[in-house]
Symmetry: C3
Subunit: 107 residues, 3 copies
């Protein structure tokens, strides 16, 4: 990725139950994320659910996909906060590189 005017950031996505989503959103904000996007209409079968001997998600459960984008130096703190929350709940997390044109919007 090498386009004029793009800055590298980190995108963190969490799939979690509607019940746990507010705690995840609050964690995003307290860890320094300037915003987030929530998607409803999400269902799923838990990654690892069957392998853990318990069904993490079922096809009927209403889930949310929460997306935030933060500057790289905030990632470790955000992940440190998310891990215990996801261990207790049945959420999964994906972390990836992304690029934005206005990094100051995400500070």
């Amino acid at each position: 990725m090498s386009h004029v005017g793009l800055s590298k950031m980190t995108r963190i996505e969490v799939v979690t139950t509607g019940a746990d989503a507010p705690a995840v959103r609050e964690l995003f904000t307290t860890a320094g994320a300037a915003g987030y996007t929530s998607l409803s209409g999400v269902s799923g079968l838990g990654h690892g659910g069957y392998h853990q001997g318990r069904l993490l998600f079922n096809d009927q459960a209403t889930l949310e996909l929460l997306i935030t984008v933060v500057s790289d130096e905030k990632v470790d703190a955000l992940l440190a906060g998310l891990r215990p929350l996801l261990d207790e709940s049945s959420g999964v997390m994906f972390v990836s590189d992304t690029y934005v044109s206005r990094p100051e919007y995400f500070q």
Copy 2:
């Protein structure tokens, strides 16, 4: 991407019609994916639709976005299964790198 405790995986996303979504989900599972996430409320204009001389998706069609995350060694088998399915239907597929904190959940 170099954060403590993250493992590289591959994220595979398919946008397909509601009718074809169950076959894609079944393929994910038989190819060794431990789970998936389905998003409804999806519409779209088919990538390549106009260029193929036929409208793959129209704005009214109800589509689904299906996401799975697998370890890298499962990717080739999953793609080999998806290609003929997507050739017959009107789905599109995106493949990207992602990182997870608990790779055992995705095995």
Copy 3:
């Protein structure tokens, strides 16, 4: 990412209000994108909203997540068109690498 038969492309995602979504979709198409995917059921708190002294998005606002995938040489033109549109509205944009198996579908 080095899997047989995959071609590198660029994925551009925009989170914007339902009111601004048609203009973004039209821009995708005029910039040469062969298609797009729209997700509804999206809400969010604006990246940078609080830091700008104004609330870009509020939790009640109905937003859309628009996704398009284009070949790399179309990215700069697409971004050049999107920037003024996003500056006027309250949208955010994420750009990332992705891989597809049928690049001709995205031309």
